[in-house]
């Protein structure tokens, strides 16, 4: 089997799985559905590994054109958009994450959804999602990427609204789709601009066409493309101002949150920016905007995460915040560390979500952390893997988050588009992260158990056969947790900071991820180094200093959280009371949703109503109806002439005839 066919198979097998589950296996037993779905992701995972360690590792770019998709004459030539797939070192990383983490989550979901009926729908959507995500990262041109881009949006819509009988879930799905659509418009406009500027949407062709001269002559256009791409990224990767959909998206089943809203779909923005890095770096404005948006999102979302009480909401805001880190990384020019963080985040956030799902599953869909506590005794595997995930995300030295996050923070200060202020925002976000993650973990797994009490009130007698005994979940759910925990520990070593490398005596110029992505980022590097004479104004001492600072901040904030919440969920109340108004504002998520509702949605609805009432009904219909009324007045006079007697009609004919003859005579 050659690599081209393998590439096509990677994309098509999940689609096949979706079709099988969606149409043919609707009434198949649950185990068949789950196996088909999991295999449909696992087989591509094997192929991805083969590709990864085969041609991609050797530095080749595998490309296959499946069929000619769009072909239109354009400006004397032809605009050809084949349905082409390509895998290079960047997409290979994402391939592994999507199929690898995807397989684990499918396995997990099979168990998680065991109490549901008609799970074929769930797994069909899930496979379809993987298909879309794969076409997003494998697309050789922007349109194929866009197919995946919107495809993941629609799958996410369907999966968030999976339990559609509750209208709130369906609404959350709709919100996600529409926020994504706003971003998609940015992507669309970026495509149109690249057609205008380069006459193509193929990444490699754009890269070839984009010379420094062209970029210099069309600077506004390049900036516009960059900003439009950023709009797309804010939609899909839940950045300010479009992040609002992601917390609501937690309405979906938890494996969905793990796969879509942590590991894969939301990171596609980072993928896209890295893919287009060669273009973005030509615009200082665009890069700075990206960095600022990323840093602000990271801090902003982290503040909301501080006070949330829903286990999934905390993780959701944490995701938004972490995505902010990645965008910040890209914005300052450290695309490779954005990708590295993407990868480590995929591991530990998937782990955290799956752990949360495990808790929720065991607690029969209870999500309030105030009603948990002390669970580690009952669910040791879930508990300890969750702790590993927490340590990874807060950047505990040695775990994956430490390396990737610190590289981003370091570059935020020293990178080609970096600035100490950006570092400060990022460090603030990291501090908040430490606080809320430790709070979350402590309240859920340690301290007094608040479980029985809460459920005692709920049991109204009819619940008696339900055993509320909380116990560890089966292997199908814990195995993915363990694998992901392992990855969360070791995953970060690909982006080991220079300073540590030197200390450890590793003899390499660059860390693994920089080395690996260097072909993809070569042209961007070139532009950035040309723009900034001295390559990186950082030094080993600064690196050590920043690393030390963030570790210190992490330790302080974690300790602070532990000391506060030692006494249970009410531990934070004293501070909350002290800043009452601010606390409520943050608890209400800064009331951004209400702001959008009041400033955009409601006025638009009013405009729609006004158009209908005054535009259509009053104005246009008015003119249309009143005009004929005038005619009616005239005709009502004339209609008296219509006596209904044939004789009288004939008189008119006669008069006309005589008049005609008279006219001829004269």
């Amino acid at each position: 089997m050659n690599y081209q066919a393998m590439l096509a198979a990677i994309l098509l097998i999940p689609l096949l799985g979706a079709l099988l589950n969606g149409f043919l296996l609707r009434s198949a037993p649950r185990v068949v559905t789950v196996s088909v779905a999991t295999l449909a992701i696992f087989i591509p995972f094997i192929f991805s590994c083969l590709l990864f360690f085969g041609p991609v590792n050797a530095g080749e770019v595998v490309r296959t054109d499946l069929f000619n998709w769009i072909s239109v004459p354009f400006q004397g030539g032809h605009l050809d958009i084949p349905f082409a797939l390509t895998v290079d070192r960047l997409s290979a990383i994402l391939l592994l994450i999507i199929t690898g983490v995807g397989s684990l989550i499918h396995l997990y979901a099979g168990e998680y959804m065991s109490h549901e009926e008609g799970v074929y729908r769930f797994f069909a959507y899930l496979n379809l999602f993987v298909f879309s995500m794969l076409s997003l990262v494998l697309g050789a041109n922007m349109v194929v990427t866009f197919l995946g881009w919107e495809g993941v949006g629609v799958c996410s819509y369907l999966l968030i609204g999976y339990w559609y009988s509750d209208e709130a879930n369906a609404r959350a799905g709709m919100k996600a789709f529409i926020a994504n659509r706003v971003g998609d418009l940015g992507f669309l406009l970026a495509m149109f601009m690249s057609v205008k500027l380069f006459g193509t949407v193929d990444y490699s062709k754009i890269a070839a066409a984009l010379t420094n001269e062209l970029a210099a002559n069309n600077a506004p256009m390049i900036t516009a493309i960059g900003l439009c791409l950023l709009l797309g990224v804010t939609g899909k990767s839940a950045q300010l101002p479009l992040y609002i959909w992601l917390p609501d998206a937690m309405a979906g089943p938890t494996p969905v949150s793990a796969l879509i809203h942590a590991a894969t779909m939301v990171t596609s923005g980072i993928y896209l920016m890295t893919r287009m890095s060669f273009l973005l770096v030509h615009s200082h404005t665009a890069m700075t905007t990206i960095a600022v948006i990323g840093a602000c999102t990271a801090l902003f979302a982290a503040t909301i995460g501080l006070v949330q009480n829903d286990i999934k909401k905390v993780l959701a805001y944490s995701t938004v915040s972490q995505l902010g880190f990645m965008v910040l990384g890209c914005g300052v020019g450290a695309f490779q560390f954005g990708v590295a963080h993407l990868m480590t985040h995929a591991f530990f956030k998937a782990l955290l979500f799956l752990g949360a799902g495990s808790v929720i599953h065991a607690m029969h869909h209870e999500q309030d952390i105030r009603k948990m506590g002390g669970l580690i005794k009952k669910m040791p595997i879930t508990g300890w893997t969750f702790v590993i995930g927490t340590l990874a995300i807060i950047g505990f030295p040695g775990l994956s988050g430490f390396f990737s996050k610190d590289e981003i923070l370091y570059n935020a200060w020293t990178g080609p588009f970096g600035h100490p202020l950006l570092w400060a925002l990022g460090a603030g976000a990291a501090a908040c992260t430490s606080f809320y993650m430790v709070r979350l973990t402590y309240l859920v797994f340690f301290g007094e158990s608040r479980v029985e009490h809460a459920h005692g009130h709920h049991g109204h007698g009819h619940d008696h056969h339900h055993h509320h005994e909380i116990h560890e979940n089966p292997l199908a759910m814990t195995l993915p947790l363990m694998i992901l925990a392992l990855l969360s520990i070791v995953g970060g070593y690909v982006s080991m900071p220079h300073a540590i490398m030197h200390t450890l005596g590793v003899h390499a110029n660059e860390n693994i991820i920089t080395e690996w992505l260097s072909p993809v980022l070569a042209s961007a590097k070139e532009v950035m180094s040309a723009g900034h004479g001295e390559e990186g104004h950082g030094s080993a001492s600064l690196e050590w200093g920043l690393m030390g600072a963030s570790t210190l901040v992490m330790l302080i904030m974690s300790g602070f959280a532990l000391s506060l919440y030692k006494v249970g969920p009410k531990g934070g109340d004293s501070i909350a009371n002290a800043v009452g108004g601010l606390y409520r504002l943050i608890l209400d998520k800064w009331r951004i949703d209400e702001l959008y509702q009041g400033v955009i949605i409601e006025p638009l609805k009013k405009v729609g109503d006004a158009f209908f009432k005054f535009g259509d009904r009053a104005l246009i219909e008015g003119i249309i109806n009143e005009g004929p009324r005038g005619i009616y007045l005239v005709t009502s006079v004339l209609s008296d002439v219509q006596s209904g007697l044939v004789r009288n009609y004939l008189k008119v004919v006669f008069i006309a005839m005589v008049a005609l003859c008279a006219w001829i005579l004269i």
Partner: protein, 189 residues
């Protein structure tokens, strides 16, 4: 003034006068008889105009077929004789009549001055030329039927076929309209 012109004028005047007679009859049957006479006269005029086919058709179809149907219906209905006027002639009607007589006389004078011929020439239509453009040929009178056929079955073939449909529809329609409704009768009974 040659014989054909003389007879044409006589026939024309007779026809006009007879038509005046026709519209003033009280008995429908006599009116129909007068109309047959008018049609015969017209056929003669067609003949003088060298439209032999038209003349023949006028006699056969009009005077023969159509008028027979009229007479049948008149006899079927067996109407009583009718009062001629339904009321006084209004002032407007009198003015109309006066003006029309005036116009008719004026037109007659103009025709006498060769008005029509010059009018046609000024419109660019000369002898032997179709208004619609195309032919430039002379039609000998002796081949009138052939010429009519050539025109009718080549240029006007579609129209001819459509007309045949129209007649068929009319026949069926007439039957349907005039048929006694059996259902009505059943109800009545």
């Amino acid at each position: 003034m040659n014989l054909s012109l003389l007879s044409f004028i006589v026939m024309g005047i007779t026809a006009v006068l007879l038509s005046g007679v026709m519209i003033t009859r009280r008995w429908p049957v006599s009116a129909a008889m007068v109309l047959i006479a008018i049609m015969t006269l017209l056929a003669g005029m067609f003949g003088l105009l060298e439209a032999h086919f038209a003349a023949a058709a006028q006699i056969i179809v009009y005077a023969g077929a159509i008028m027979v149907v009229f007479v049948f219906v008149i006899m079927l209905l067996n109407l009583p004789p009718e009062e001629l006027r339904y009321g006084g002639v209004t002032v407007g009607e009198m003015i109309l009549i006066a003006v029309s007589v005036f116009v008719a006389v004026g037109l007659g004078t103009k025709v006498g001055q060769g008005f029509l011929t010059t009018g046609l020439e000024s419109m660019g239509v000369a002898q032997g030329e179709s208004v619609a453009g195309g032919h430039h040929m002379y039609f000998p009178a002796s081949e009138n039927v052939k010429n009519v056929a050539a025109s009718m079955f080549v240029d006007y073939l579609w129209a001819f076929e459509l007309i045949s449909f129209l007649i068929m529809a009319a026949v069926i329609g007439a039957v349907v309209i005039a048929k006694k409704r059996s259902a009505e009768h059943a109800d009545a009974a």
